[in-house]
Amino acid sequence: MSSPGELKLSGWEVGETRKLPGMDVKKIGKDLYEIFIGPQHPGSGHMRIIVRLDGDVMVEVDPDLGYVHRTMEKLAEGRSFIKVIPLVERMAILDACNITLPYVEAVEKLMDIEPPERAKYLRVLLCEINRIASHLYGMGIFGVFLGHSTMYMWPFGDREVFVELAERLTGARLTHSYPVPGGVRRDVPEGFTDDLRKAVRYMRKRLEEYRKIFLDNPVIRARLEGVGVIPRNLAIELGIVGPNLRASGVEYDVRMVEPYEAYGELDFEVPVFEEGDALARAWVRVEEIKQSLRILEQVADKLDKMPREGFMHDKFWAKAPKLYKDVYSREGRVKLMPLFANLKVPAGKAFARAEAGRGEIVYYVESEGKFTPYRVRVVSPSFRNAIVFKYIAPGHRLMDLPAIYGSIDYFPPEADR
């Protein structure tokens, strides 16, 4: 039946490549179909996911990271302590304050200083604004991954409310570089807390509409319910972080277990869901936004009552000349002492963690008593969540991949650092 020139498909080993007219064909396994999703792909973001399909079911998912690896850990070793703050901020610029805060805390631990109380509240203020903006960003991406374009535009539009708030506070839309060792760089401008309260009221109203158009939408329910289930013990075993962990029923939030800054004095809840599926992860985010709004209201009240002083540790501010104090009282801008340019940090090793929008971020900072750190190790939440692709996605259909990707709110630049 077969002529000599025809292909003999029997005896074709796995992994062997053959030339066919117009294409190279490689056998990767029995009945497997290998597709490379990304790095240029509407559903991949800045990464590549290598998926092997059996029919429509994914049997192997291999996340290929590193497309945004910008070598922050190496560069930090050559830069002075203060220059590392904008450097690590570029991991996740949409969550800038949360991402840089533990680094600043680690440096403060090494220097044995603690910021004054107003600075702590100001940091919490920006952290929560960032958290809401980050969750809204994640929900927007999640929405568009499910084909819901309105759910992309609405959170992105409402995120602008909080970006605008952050811009008024810090002077930049995303890259705030706001906390510095010892304090913060700006105080709240005039009328800020009123705007904040308005934004909080608006966001509360909008969350109800999100629920109607997205969370209670039958199409979205059908896509998310029971998809990408991470049971509690598996979540602990994989060491995933943040809302994804709390959606699996683990009560862990760094703000709760090790309250940093002013979080110990604030009244808020950490929502924990039992189901562990993609829908629960979406719900955790919505509930967390509600709690963040609560925190923002409390912080606004607190800041109004507090006197406008104590935004920088005395070590850096006591000797400030008159010009510096004038600039502060005129513009609310905290000028940095020239000392910051050459900040010498005592030798030691410090480990600090914080709850960023996507989960726990940890920093290990080692100093030799010089101007530059000896080693900065950062493990970002997305990098710890990346393992979900490998262990949770197989067994689902190909169309569930965006649902899982969106639900864990994976942000490749943050993972790759």
């Binding site: 294409m23 597709i35 792909h41 199409v219 896509r223």
Partner: protein, 345 residues
Amino acid sequence: MAGVVDTIISWIFWPPLFQLVIAPGLVAALAIVIFILWFERKTAARVQMRVGPYNVSPRLGGALQLIADLIRYSFQEPIIPKTVDTAAFILAPLAMLVISVVPTAAIPVSPLPWTWPIPMEHSLLVALALTTLSPVFLVAAGWASNNKFSVIGSTREAFMVTAYELVFIISLLAVAAPVHSYNLVEIVEAQAGWRMFAILNPLAFLAAFIAILMSTSGFPFEIPESEHEVVAGPFTEYSGLLYGIDMGAAYIKRYVMSVLLTIAFLGGWKPLDPQPGAGLLAGYIAPLVVVLVKATIVMAVMSFFRAVYGRYRLDQAVDLAWRVILPMALAGYALGLIYGYLGVI
């Protein structure tokens, strides 16, 4: 002189030519598709708190946007990759475009026999049969592209065909049953006043509406071109004019099916009732405009769904079609049979 003009007019309005090429055929289809695409983008923008296409022609609210896109696509470099099957790659979109328009030959836009391109007794069946052809070429386009995403996309389209074809045919039979005829003219004539089949038989209407959404990959069933897994589905490798044709063909199919839906369920030209002996305007153009306006409204509703829904998973969509929509269509058919048995219409 007058004779020449009359001859030209009579040639232009010669039904076989006019109906297929001008209205409701290709030209009207393109015009309405361009309008609908613009409307879709503006609707989505409106719901999404933004403006949508605007700066291209600020006075017209950006209505020329689709013209600009069309020009850009027409003059962009057409890339035909070396690995594709060239003939199938080029012919599939063209065939799809033509096949999408062809059902208009069987769809009457007026009750007067001289306006029909081909007088036929069973026009509903012919129209249905012709609308089922275009998925073949969509699958062919994906297969010819020799791209993994295209192949997955066309496989999905093939799955979707199994989901919607039966539903669409049965729900349209629910209209034929009470009238005891496959003739679309008689079906329209049966729907006088408010006795539209959309109201008398809402189950069949809803089933047919959803089947159209499925067959033209409208939301929430935009699965073959689901961009977050398969890029652009069967059209991933297409560029330039061929991609424009691809996009156009999909929307023209939706338009033709909407016209069919209008005729079958929404009373066609029905507020009007052209009498035999009516002239060109009253007997042909006016009913045509009514049909087109109704079809455009149907398409506008479909466009609005883009702003409200995400997309179902493939297995869920097929499951939904067989478990929910097909029983719904069958119930509608049963209702139609009851109407027919009782002879209420």
